[in-house]
Amino acid sequence: MSLDPITLTVIQAGLQQVCDEMDLSFSRAAFSPVIAEANDRSDGIYAAEDGALIAQGVAGLPVFVGTMQYSTRTLIEMINEGQVDAPNSGDIYIVNDPYLGGTHLMDVRFAKPFYRQGKIFCWLSNTGHWPDTGGAVPGGFSASATAVEQEGLRLPPVKLFKQGVMDKEIFSIIQSNIRVAEQRIGDVQAQAAALLVGETRFSALLDRYGDATVSEAIGELKQRAAQQMRSYLQEIPEGTYTSEAYIDSDGVINEPLTICLSVTKSDGSLCFDFSSSSAPCLGPMNSVRATTHSAVYLAMRHIFPDVPMNAGAFEPFDIKGIKNTFLDAQYPRPVSGCAAEVSQRIAEAVFAALVQPLPNRVTAAPAGTSGNFALGGHDPDRGRDYVMYQISGGGYGGNADHDGLSNGCSTIGISKAPPIEIMEQAYPVLYHHYALHEGSGGAGKHRGGFGLDYEVELRRGHAKASFVMDHGRFGPQGACNGGDGGTNKVAVYRDGLAYTPDHLSKEQDIDLSPGDRVHVQTPGGGGYGDPLDRAPDLVVEDVSLGRYSPAQAETLFGVVFTGSPPAFDAQLTEALRTKKRAVKDRAH
């Protein structure tokens, strides 16, 4: 080793800074609220030869932690094989093909070669979630597509910018195939400008420390990240840990999809084996290879957040057995559920397997759904069409130290939900309540957090409602003898009659008339530890705050309330808990 650790640290901070500035520039200038407000984007630096991740912005959306290196690698391979035109300085490639290292079609990647002395030194790349890329459903989250063509416009890698100048012909093809097209030019400019910021800042870093030193540091930092990840993995005893997680259905065939995972720790590495997971599905709940890998990486990063983000951190992981499963879908399988839903279920499987050897680090399962409810229609008062999205959070899993957080954002995201007041301003809807999903926190010594419970009414015009959610069939799983969190529930009230989607959490184009209502309850987090070990005063507090009913307290926690108004009864509680423990012991 010739570089001292201080220079390494300083260059690491410098690389990070380049990416963070790209993230900032992209968000601040972007048009799409999904990018600007929800930060559904990511920027990074990737190796010239194989696209390996060198550094990525800390504020990037977690699901992109692993996808962009696959996307860049695929692009490099296609260039090398002559399938894509060779780069020149100032070019920017655009691509959104899910099967070429992507996620869903809405995640549009830009990649720009970064030149030093006439040679490509590395790639700068970013991903931004566009609000629409065409297809059957506005916004692209289909619940029942059966081929990728129904999901939107698919772009192979092409040069959108040629030597610094945008190709207006390519852009006009894109514009003609997507909705709210007039605003996309703002996002395209912002996305390209962010890469320019990266170029300027990275040049300054290289000028300061020298190309050779920075190159050497990049190699060394990769090894160090691998070393750091391996040192954390030492906490896991050698052995195999298994788990399963389920998707309610693919949206077309009403049967659950299973993720079967076995994680084997040996020789300082982890092998994630997904073989015997369900076969590729007809509906859009397929994942593609890059997203599946990224989901594993992001789950590991949730468990070990301090490891610096570069390709080295992923080195100790081997992911296998996804071929011929729905976690490695091939063209033309529909994939619009992969980033928002399937990736979260993969993360849940990783948590459920690794909470066994790492009970102090890993939590019980979080709600793990983006809770996508879309309403599209025509507002007669304003004379315009609209598409409204309500995303919502859910409870997080309990953990070794605390109860889970209520209404946390999705595992793969960091975005806030929009305020009700803004929704009602923008769309012809009226919320009747927006509340805690009572009773949904999974029972445990440390209970899960609570989901959300809302009901919204269509005020004017006709509209179609679509849902892409999950955990309707099974709640998020508890850990260490904790109970599962409450399930996701959807009910649609039309002319006063309740209707529940056949697929529970997924359905497309349900007709609504004025006065019709949609009622959604999102999942609570899984409980952690035996509910009978939960301190009775905490259960009493939960009951006094209306989070659980006295009856639930008795069934779930063995805490007894008597009389009216109900009061905690210590003696009966102790007796009931003793009895319940004896029953459990016998069952074991």
Binding site: D4, P5, I6, T9, V10, Q12, A13, G14, Q16, Q17, D20, E21, L24, R28, A29, F31, P33, A36, E37, A59, P62, E182, Q183, I185, G186, A193, R224, Q227, Q228, S231, L298, H302, P305, V307, P308, F351, G393, Y396, H402, G404, L405, S406, N407, G408, C409, I414, K416, A417, P419, E421, I422, Q425, L430, H433, Y434, A435, L436, L452, S544, G546
Partner: protein
């Protein structure tokens, strides 16, 4: 005597209570009084009186006291709040608990959040407005009375009324407040729309809840302080600093108590802006480095950036206009460690004030930034004898060897230099992000360094950020108290209108401005403080339709046409993002106005104590010691800053020591002075 003569003879006191010290600056024609005494956090007023005493102030002879207090900050952060109830729209009592679907950090699926008002004290009543302000369900007045009674039975001292869409139509909130006034035993009643007329129910609700729950705390504190001062014969005004960098009268401050929650850092930034204006350094990055964290703010044209979207901690937004101070997690007490990847990292963990860094000798065992400065010969605790110094140094060296140097395979001193370098790199990166997020290139600014540790790192940071100059004020450790002395009266108004330019009539904006100016003037004319003039500042928060980010555009003429506004916004947008977007309509989201009562300017040269100045630079030198710069020990002269001639110039390396701070001038940097007591460091000899 004319009015202006009268001012010159008056004595003004600024007293600022910080986490550790209470600082005081008293300016009078007879000279300057300074004090720094320990803060008394249980009842800050005794610290205030102790400071007045320490500064030899004759309280009955003072003309004005301006006070910065962290009473409400501490109450919020430690949740020592008044028991508060909420009366809200049917179906929505959980808004304050659900938040906006977030977690505290991007990675790690855990977090803790305790709502300000517990669920059993949140009561729903039938009422509903739509987003246009039309009544859908009339207010159930009986339900309001019943709710009030229930909350009083639960022992609530303060109450919040928070209804959906009250920003669009506040009738229901107003009526509920009227009803409450007849039954509630005190005046601690906050209506959501009053502090903030904005369309985000969580942020508006939290702002109101913060206000209500700190109102009784602040009000009692101010009463105690006024009483104590009156007892000592003080008969004039007491003004209190707000988070917007302006002051309000003590008797009205509790009404909008939430505005004081972030006032601590604001006063330092106001002092920086004021000093910068006097020194013709109009564009500054203020850099206040203390024991556990560093506060950074941007000052353009001698005006600090203001934000309506400050988050005090996770899940606690306070959306009222406040000086936009960002906190960077590095301070003198930040701990250095070796990661399991074998790299050096500094912070965010801190040794805090207790036990503090190893070199404080209070039982600290972790290597910190302050310890690194100590080992490098830059920082020298002044109260130690030389044998104690040697002993302390031995301890610090031992800790650095054990925890860092053995891993890094270098000497303890090299490890210390590395700690400072890594800390500077991280701070510089954070400062860059702050200025870029506000649309500014840091290279266009000078660094204004204060706080106990700011001047230690300022020159190195400026070099890292490519800034030409560092300004170090006369009293770096008393800057916040100075901010109290120089601050103006200030009232900010924000009205959300959220209307596309095309649908906007010209008079719509100007009538909002007119109303805001009227309210501001009325508030200011009630104050008895001497003012030089009253200024108004107009701005609009705008966006292209379809966007969510807002860009603030300063408006000189409150009667501008929609066409001019569109052009003005397009230009501002291009300047900021270098993206030109034609044919996209802009919208006005917020109409903002600040009404500022300017106080007579203070002559900063009063802060200089000219009597103790040496005749030459050489005579001001107190010592020579070895200081580690650029991988080598250098014989470095040490000066008493207070003894330096007022026109001194120096070339680094040099160390300047003063009562409240230590200043490091690295080799190659030049130092000059200005007429009002600032030191200017010219990085790399730049001018």
């Amino acid at each position: 005597m004319t009015e202006s003569d009268n001012r010159k003879t008056s004595t003004i006191v600024g007293v600022d209570v910080g986490g550790t010290f209470t600082d005081l600056v008293a300016v009078s024609p007879n000279g300057l009084h300074l004090a720094k005494v320990p803060s008394t956090l249980d009842d800050q007023s005794s610290g205030v009186l102790a400071a007045l005493d320490a500064a030899d102030c004759e309280i009955s002879a003072l003309d004005l006291i301006v006070h910065g207090t962290t009473t409400t900050t501490n109450a919020v952060l430690e949740r020592k709040l008044a028991r508060t109830g909420l009366i809200t729209t049917q179906g929505f009592r959980d808004i304050l608990e659900l938040g906006r679907r977030t977690r505290p950090q991007a990675y790690g699926m855990y977090g803790q959040f305790t709502p300000l008002i517990p669920r059993n004290l949140r009561i729903e009543v039938p009422e509903r407005m739509d987003s246009d302000g039309h009544v859908l369900t009339p207010l159930d007045e009986t339900a309001v009375k019943d709710a009030a009674k229930a909350l009083l039975d639960h022992g609530c001292e303060a109450v919040v009324v928070h209804f959906l869409h009250a920003y669009a139509n506040p009738t229901h909130e107003r009526r509920a407040v009227e009803i409450l006034r007849s039954v509630w035993p005190n005046s601690y009643i906050t209506a959501g729309h009053v502090l903030l007329s904005e369309n985000r129910e969580y942020e508006r609700g939290v702002t109101a809840a913060v206000n209500a729950s700190v109102q009784p705390v602040l009000s009692k504190y101010i009463d105690r302080l006024v009483l104590a001062l009156t007892d000592q014969g003080y008969a004039r005004d007491l003004l209190v600093m707000n988070g917007n960098g302006g002051m309000v009268h003590a008797q009205s401050v509790a009404k909008e108590a939430a505005k004081t929650v972030m006032s601590g850092p604001a006063s330092g930034v106001m002092a920086a802006a004021f000093t910068g204006r006097a020194a013709s350094e109009l564009n500054l990055i203020s850099y206040d480095m203390g024991g556990t964290s560093t506060d950074v703010a941007l000052i353009r044209g001698a005006t600090p950036s203001i934000s309506n979207e400050i988050e005090v901690e996770y899940g606690m937004p306070i959306h009222v206009p406040m000086v936009d101070v960002r906190t960077v997690g590095a301070g003198g007490g930040s701990i250095a460690r070796i990661t399991s990847g074998g790299l050096l990292d500094v912070g965010p963990d801190s040794a805090g004030a207790d036990p503090g860094p190893v070199c404080y000798g209070r039982g600290g065992t972790q290597p910190t930034i302050a310890d690194a400065n100590f080992l490098l010969g830059r920082l020298r605790p002044s109260d130690l004898s030389s044998s104690e110094q040697t002993n302390r140094a031995k301890n610090v060296r031992h800790v650095f060897t054990e925890k860092l140097a053995s891993e890094l395979k270098c000497s303890a001193v090299e490890a210390a230099a590395a700690v400072v370098k890594v800390a500077n790199t991280k701070m510089a990166g954070a400062i860059r992000m702050v200025s870029l997020s506000l649309g500014a290139d840091p290279r266009d600014f000078a660094l204004f360094a204060f706080g106990g540790a700011g001047p230690l790192h300022a020159a190195a940071l400026a070099r890292e950020l490519d800034l030409p100059r560092v300004v170090i004020p006369a009293r770096p450790g008393l800057t916040n108290a100075l901010g109290c002395v120089v601050a103006d009266l200030r009232h900010d108004f924000v009205r959300t209108i959220n209307t596309p330019l095309a649908e906007l009539s010209c008079s719509q904006i100007s009538s909002v401005f007119e109303h805001q100016v009227r309210r501001g003037n009325a508030l200011i004319s009630n104050e008895t403080v001497d003012l030089e003039c009253v200024d108004t500042i107009f701005s609009l928060d705008m966006q292209f339709i379809g966007q969510t980010h807002l860009l603030r555009v300063q408006i000189d003429d409150p009667n501008m046409s929609a066409i001019d506004l569109q052009a003005l916004f397009e230009k501002a947008y291009f300047d900021r993002f270098h993206v030109a977007l034609q044919n996209i309509q802009a919208a006005v989201v917020n109409v903002n106005c600040s009404v500022i009562g300017r106080r007579p300017p203070l002559d900063l040269s009063l802060l200089l104590d000219k009597d103790i100045r040496a005749k030459s630079v050489i005579e001001a030198q107190t010592d020579t010691r070895n200081v580690f710069f650029d991988n080598t020990w250098m014989q470095t002269p040490v000066f008493s800053r207070d003894a330096l001639p007022t026109d001194a110039t120096l070339r680094g390396p040099a160390i300047l020591e003063q009562m409240d701070s230590t200043i490091v001038i690295p080799p190659d940097d030049k130092m000059s002075t200005d007429s009002i007591g600032n030191l200017i460091l010219h990085i790399g000899g730049a001018t």
